[in-house]
């Protein structure tokens, strides 16, 4: 095969065995790789009704055909399992070097089954694969784990691991690679912890063969040029990072503040990308083959929160910042470092603390619940302390480790959780940006911006501006973005590549790499197939149209001031059209005709 390596590794953790299997060509063609391929394997092999933290769940690391090639920004692999935070299918994407390195070792994917009796890690050196004891690594954070495994194996190994968060089954634990790159959201790190799997380390010395080298080189050069010449991909993200969004969302009245009670934050400018660049940035950082470099290497000067590491990105700055009423950029950055070290999702962590602050300020919880810490909005030290408690499994941190929905529900007030399908909404108020609300409601892994990033047209005007305040045309817009993203996540490309290239470019790259002819329509159809596959898994897991909704605060409580004053999200105006355009019935179930059309 070209583009694909043609080999999948299957690891039975209970038996301690490893075997190699061939990747069926038809499966590869229809589901591409990455998110699509791994989701198909999960759907075929895992009962959707299982407990996600039981040995019956499987954990699949999956690359795409473009990983490891010289296509621009083609670093992303996916980690797929049934997610413990949501109970939905979970597919978490991460950049860095891990995906390409796995390809260089000769593998498209690794399937982990069962549970190891004692902590282990998987070491892959090209053809040689072995399970090694990780008993000495258990309890170590992601940085220590990465360093120790490299010392024990190869200093150029790429290490994807869990920290104490995954070990303690924090429901929003990440898999982290290269210390700071996160396969986040939905808790795939907890699934890894439940299997006693501490890490996967890979050193590959091979190469990825493409079908038509000359055509692929030309297509890659054209794609690179488009990204470089794009105003955002070429300069904006490198200079300011993703955190530059803070001020834009704040100015349009769409920056969720104090657990979505308001949609503008007076201290926004102190935590935005302009301030980050001026105050704590040491240098931009990029993943494998990246020509964008949105990553932020940073250093905190304030000794109270001292340290150095990576971040924050926009979502992180928002979750620990405006959503908690905090304008202290260094405290936000410290919280980010702690999450990276523990391997925890920053969006859910910050949003859960915001939820706790909301519960506290409304007298539902008191200092008796919070280990004596007054959890008021705006208290930066209390926020950082809550992150530490969660990472270390201490006191109130054990409740925070369940995410905002289970936290609020345990006190009889689930309505304080700003989540969909138990996953916290990211940093866009759906009352001010209507289409993203529909995307949050329908996302197959709970509320998520990177399932269908309609912020690009609704706020940023990319590729063209559509009105953020209206619902017209949003169903169709969401579907296009969701399908495109599902296909893109399966190629190995970074979502930010789409700030420059589109489905036609990706289809061309894929065709030249694999030798399988993908038209733009084929590419989008693959995305639609993957989206429907994920939907079917969720329906079988017990989800229904009732779950395609938003918190009451978003549907019923009007924004009180600012540009979005008086707005609620009008999901009911968009959802029936969305189902209809998807070829689903009124209950949100794909019709037989649609499934036949998609070959499912």
């Amino acid at each position: 095969m070209n583009g694909w390596t043609g080999t999948i590794v299957r690891v039975d953790l209970a038996a301690g065995t490893v075997k190699k299997e061939s990747l069926p060509a038809e499966l590869a063609r229809k589901f591409i790789g990455g998110r699509g391929l791994a989701s198909k394997i999960l759907c075929d092999e895992v009962d959707p009704t299982i407990d996600p933290l039981s040995p019956k769940n499987k954990l699949i690391f999956s690359t795409g055909p473009l990983n490891g090639t010289y296509a621009p920004s083609a670093s992303h692999y996916n980690v797929v399992a049934k997610g413990p935070l949501t109970g939905t299918i979970a597919a978490s994407s991460s950049g860095g070097m891990f995906g390409p390195m796995l390809k260089y070792a000769g593998y498209d994917a690794i399937i982990f089954e069962g549970k190891a009796k004692k902590p282990v890690y998987l070491w892959i050196k090209d053809d040689e694969i072995e399970l090694r004891s990780a008993e000495d690594l258990w309890g170590r954070n992601t940085v220590e784990t990465t360093e120790e495994i490299r010392l024990a194996t190869d200093d150029e190994a790429s290490v994807a691991c869990i920290g104490p968060g995954g070990e303690r089954l924090v429901l929003f634990a990440n898999v982290m690679n290269e210390c700071n790159r996160a396969a986040g959201r939905s808790g795939v790190g907890a699934v890894m912890g439940s299997k006693n799997l501490k890490a996967v380390a890979v050193r590959g010395t091979g190469a990825v063969r493409v079908s038509d080298n000359e055509a692929f080189r030309s297509a890659s050069q054209r794609a690179s040029t488009k990204i470089r010449e794009h105003a955002v991909g070429g300069k904006g993200l490198r200079t300011y990072g993703t955190d530059v969004l803070v001020n834009i969302l704040n100015e349009i009245g769409g920056l969720p503040t104090r657990n979505f009670r308001e949609s503008q934050f007076p201290g926004a400018d102190k935590v935005g990308g302009e301030s980050l660049t001026a105050r704590i940035l040491t240098r931009p950082r990029g993943c494998f083959s990246c020509i964008i470099s949105c990553g932020r290497a940073t250093r905190i000067k304030n000794p109270k929160f001292g340290g150095m590491g990576e971040g924050p990105e926009y979502e992180t700055a928002w979750a620990f910042g405006p959503d908690c009423g905090i304008d202290d950029l260094e405290a936000i950055t410290k919280a980010n470092y702690l999450c990276n070290e523990a391997g925890m999702d920053t969006i859910t962590m910050g949003s859960t603390i915001a939820c706790a602050m909301d519960l506290f300020e409304n007298g539902i919880i008191t200092t008796k619940d919070t280990d004596g810490v007054a959890l008021n909005f705006g208290d930066a030290e209390a926020m950082v302390e809550m992150v530490r408690k969660t990472a270390e499994g201490e006191g109130f941190g054990k409740k925070l480790a369940l995410g905002s929905y289970r936290l609020a529900e345990s006190y009889g007030h689930p309505e304080y959780s700003m989540s969909v399908k138990k996953q916290e909404m990211p940093a866009y108020d759906p009352r001010a940006v209507q289409g993203i609300g529909l995307n949050f409601a329908t996302s197959n892994r709970g509320a998520c911006h990177v399932r269908g990033y309609t912020i690009a047209p609704e706020v940023l005007g990319n590729p063209e501006k559509v009105d953020n305040m209206t619902t017209d045309g949003k169903a169709k817009l969401d579907i296009i973005f969701q399908d495109l993203t599902a296909a893109l996540d399966s190629t190995g490309a970074c979502l930010f590549a789409t700030f420059g290239i589109g489905g036609d470019d990706l289809a061309e790259l894929l065709s030249c790499a694999t030798g399988v002819s993908y038209s733009t329509e084929d590419f989008m159809k693959a995305g639609e197939r993957i989206w429907n596959l994920e939907r079917i898994f969720n329906l079988k897991a017990g989800f229904s149209a009732r779950d395609d909704t938003l918190p009451d605060r978003i549907l019923k409580d009007q924004v009180l001031k600012g540009p979005a004053k008086g707005q609620v999200n009008r999901l009911g105006d968009m959802l029936p059209e969305y189902y209809s355009l998807r070829g689903w019935d009124a209950s949100g179930v794909p019709t037989k005709e649609k499934l036949q059309e998609l070959g499912l």
Binding site: Y240, L245, E251, G461, A564
Partner: protein
């Protein structure tokens, strides 16, 4: 009338983060931009195309509303209005 201008990202290098501008009644976004271009000639090609249209991905807000959804460059300004100016940037 008094207008508050807020600039972000690269535009801050030229305009600073926030300034108060005095404009005549009846002024539009275009009037405001021309005033800025008079003071900062290098800004024009960053904001407008050679045909005088707002460049793709440049964001101009009047009181938080993108002028694309108002009357574009002909959007009228009122006393105490706030105008926000963003170069092409993105995140997620």
């Amino acid at each position: 009338m008094k207008i508050t201008l807020k600039a972000f990202a690269f535009y801050r290098d030229v305009l600073g983060s926030q300034t108060q501008l005095e404009l005549s009644h009846g002024a539009t976004i275009e009037t405001l931009l021309e005033m800025l271009f008079t003071r900062h000639r290098e800004l024009r090609p960053q904001v407008l195309t050679s045909e005088g249209r707002v460049k793709p991905l440049v964001i101009i807000l009047k009181n938080g509303r993108n002028i694309v959804h108002l009357e574009g460059l002909h959007t009228k300004l009122d006393d105490q209005d706030m105008v926000s100016l963003f170069p092409p940037v993105a995140g997620g």
